[in-house]
Every structure is written in structure tokens, then in C-alpha cells.
């Protein structure tokens, strides 16, 4: 094992690492926002809109991210939708995660007793105030573990991005490994990076869960 290939190429590796983190956080946070938006619309509507959002979530949860990325990146140009690799990756992660965030938030909304919302409405709170002050705090304790879990899952999904020519950490290390033949070293470095990141995210998640439960008890 000769890990000097890693120190020799560190600027390149650092760029890949930063890009991986950016895409992970950017894609998952915008997925969270989109998921919350769609879930809010869904629980406040009936009929076609409800089913349309249900369908959106079912479709994008039921198809592998890889296929969605191929469709977006290579299928898009045939209908004039040309995105850069990074933009396609970001959009792909956003859509894929939003489909799962919708389900989490919907379950959260459904767990809040109807009576509370009625009461809030009668006291004169508007829809947005009810969402922020009544519904979200109430459902937090139920959904935080699922939210954390999804952030963890999305961390690992970023490794797939290298297949649509995004120079993320996986692509950079794979390239270095195959040109220097230090394939094993670069793979172990990649595994170590993700493992450490995952443990950190999981730990941060636990702190968040404790906070959320304390918040509710108070």
C-alpha cells in the first residue's frame, strides 16, 4: 500500500471532495424544501392534486437514482433540455430526495391532531403561522429520525454522480487510481471518507433527535 498518490494529487482530491459535499447538501436541502412544499400542498388538497403528488412521490421513489440521472442528463437534450453535469446532478438529487421527503412530511402532518389546527384557526392564525408554530413543532419528534436517515442515505447516493461525468470525489479518485494503478489505495481512501462522513452525520442526527425531543417536552 502506497498512499503517496493521495498526497501527490491533493488539490484535485480536495476539489472533488468539496464538490461531493456541495452536491450532497445542496441537493438534499433543496429536496427537503421541495418535499415540504409538496407535502403542505398535498395535505391541504383533495382529488387530482392529492393523487398527482402521491404519484410524483411513488414514481421517483420507485426508480433508481442512476436511471433518473441518465434520463435527465442524456434524455433531456432530445427535448431541448440541456443541463451541465453539475446542474443535472443537483436537480437529480433534489427530485429523488424530495419524493422521499414528501412521504415523511405527509406522515408528519397526519400525526398532528386535527383539533389543534381547528383551534389555531379559530384563534386567528393564518395558514403559514399554523404550519410554522403548530404543525412543524408537533410533528418534529416523529419525523426527525426519518429526516436524519434520509440525509444519511443521500450522502451515499452522491457516489453515483460520477457516472454522468461530474468530477466528484468518486470520479477523481477513480481516475487517479486507474492511471497510477494505486486502485486499492484510492478505493480505501474513498471508503474511509464516506465512512467518516456517515458517522459524523449520524452523530449530528442523534444530537438533533435529542434536541427535538427536549423541545417537545418543554
Amino acid at each position: 500500500m502506497d498512499f503517496s498518490v493521495l498526497t501527490d494529487n491533493w488539490p484535485q482530491i480536495l476539489n472533488g471532495l468539496v464538490l461531493t459535499l456541495k452536491l450532497w447538501l445542496g441537493g438534499t436541502l433543496s429536496g427537503l424544501a421541495l418535499g415540504l412544499l409538496l407535502a403542505t400542498i398535498q395535505v391541504n388538497s383533495i382529488g387530482v392534486v392529492w393523487h398527482a403528488i402521491r404519484g410524483y412521490s411513488a414514481v421517483f421513489r420507485g426508480v433508481p437514482l442512476l436511471i433518473q440521472l441518465f434520463l435527465l442528463y442524456y434524455g433531456g437534450p432530445s427535448i431541448g433540455f440541456v443541463l451541465s453535469p453539475v446542474a443535472a446532478g443537483l436537480l437529480g438529487l433534489t427530485i429523488y430526495s424530495s419524493a422521499q421527503f414528501v412521504e415523511i412530511f405527509r406522515a408528519g402532518f397526519e400525526s398532528v391532531p386535527r383539533g389543534q389546527i381547528e383551534a389555531a384557526r379559530i384563534s386567528g392564525l393564518n395558514r403559514f403561522q399554523i404550519l410554522v408554530h403548530i404543525e412543524l413543532p408537533q410533528m418534529l419528534i416523529i419525523i426527525v429520525p426519518s429526516l436524519v436517515n434520509l440525509f444519511v442515505i443521500m450522502t451515499k447516493e452522491t457516489a453515483i454522480l460520477s457516472v454522468i461525468s461530474i468530477p466528484d470525489l468518486t470520479a477523481v479518485l477513480n481516475g487517479i487510481g486507474s492511471t497510477t494503478y494505486a486502485f486499492a489505495e484510492t478505493l480505501f481512501a474513498l471508503a474511509a471518507f464516506y465512512w467518516i462522513l456517515l458517522e459524523c452525520v449520524t452523530m449530528a442526527g442523534r444530537v438533533l433527535e435529542r434536541r427535538a425531543s427536549r423541545y417537545l417536552i418543554r
Partner: protein
Amino acid sequence: MLFAAVSAVLFSLASTGMSQAQDALERAKSAGVLQVATEMQYPPYDFLQGGQHVGYNVDLFNEISKEIGLKVEFTDLPWSSVLPGLEAGKYDVVAGPAAITEERSERFRFLVPISESQTTIMIRTDYDGIAKPEDIAGKKIGVQRAATASKELASYAATLSEPPVVTEYVDYSQANADLAAGRLDGVANMSNNALYAAAQRPESFAVIAEGFGATSYSSFLGRKDDDSKALLDLLNEAMLTIKHDGRMAKIQEKWFGKAQDLPDQGPTFE
């Protein structure tokens, strides 16, 4: 009980890979099959047509198969992991082909050269921004990760006033798709591959008149160790036979449009 079952499975799996008492040739003979790794998005050498694996390599290995009396089975892998897999001993022969370079010759043994090629640039037919190699300065150029063209492109780019913006792809199908979609201004590839792609889709692709970098021979390859020696000797012998009786030239005409005049042995870099 579970322990026993799992360890039995693991052991039987491990032992199939560990029959190292035989060398590569004996293993291939007792299986009746020669395992060859390659990447199947590399026309005209290896590609898929209606799900069928076809190309120059397939035709050549068909003839080799007749000579050595072994069936040939191909495994399709991303190019960036094909040579590391060879080094790790996952298989004994790589089709590719790989350009015969000094760096690779230090690690691998190349067989009889099967083609000659130079790195060149493929553009969209309706694009006039690149007419000669130096025009790629500042342009968006795609290339395959871990390919010879990628290396040649990097060293050529260093000589230009403004370097091109290079995107690396897993395979050339993806790079060519991005060229067609307009995300790239050009794709750097070996001339045999670029000319073939342009001939197949003249309405979409064209190749600039001159290439850049070294003209290199390319071939199949294996490991340099004793384990592989007998097998590679046999393959090399078979390839020489096919070359000398004119079969190789016929296959070249079929895929490259004309036969190439090649030496019996590639450069040795002493």
C-alpha cells in the same frame, strides 16, 4: 448451523479462485474458456448492436479461438477499472485494445500490435470552431477517463496558450452523446474510433484533418508474471499466424476501411 452454512459458501467461493497450482493457460484449458475483459462502448473494436457484442476484437478473437481451441468469453467493464482488474488478477487477458506506451509496458505484456492510431478531435459536422488541433484552446473538450487520448490531450493542452476545458467520461458513448447535445465542442479520441463514429453518423460527426501527439500501436495485453507466460505465448503465436495468412488484414478492412501495415512486435522501450 448458520455459521457452518455461511463459512461453507465462503470457502467454496474462495477456493474456486485459489486454484493457483495451475497456471493461467492450464486454468483456461480445464475450463475450456478464455476469459477476456474489455469495455463494450468502444466502436469499432468492441460494441453492441441489437444486444450482440460485435467489432474488430470480436472477429479477431473468433480467429484466435479457432487457433487455440478455446472458447472466448468477454466481460464488459468500465475502462478505468479494466487494467487495474488485470493487475489484480481478475482475468488474464484484456482486449481493449490499449495503446502500447512505455508506462504500460513496464507493468503489462503487450501482444502482436493490432492497429495504429493517433489522438484526434471529433466535432459536430456543422461546427467550424475547430479545424486543427491548436484550435481546441479554450474550447470544451470531452475525453474518456484513464484512456491514452486523455493523457495525450493533457500533455498537448499544456503547450497551448489557453488550455481547453476538459470533461472526463466513463465511456465514449457518453462523450459522443454530449458532443451531439452541444455540451462539448469536441471529443478527443483515437483516430480509428473517431473516423468510425464519423463514418457511421456523417450527418452528426466529422473528424479534423490532422491529429496530435504520438502515433502509437495498440494491442491486447496480459500480465508479465510467470503464471500468464504460457497463455500469452500461445495467444501471440496464434495472432502471428492470423496476421501472416492475411486474416487480420481482412478484418482490418472490414472495420477500418483499409488494412494497416503493422510490425510483428510493438516497441519495447529498453
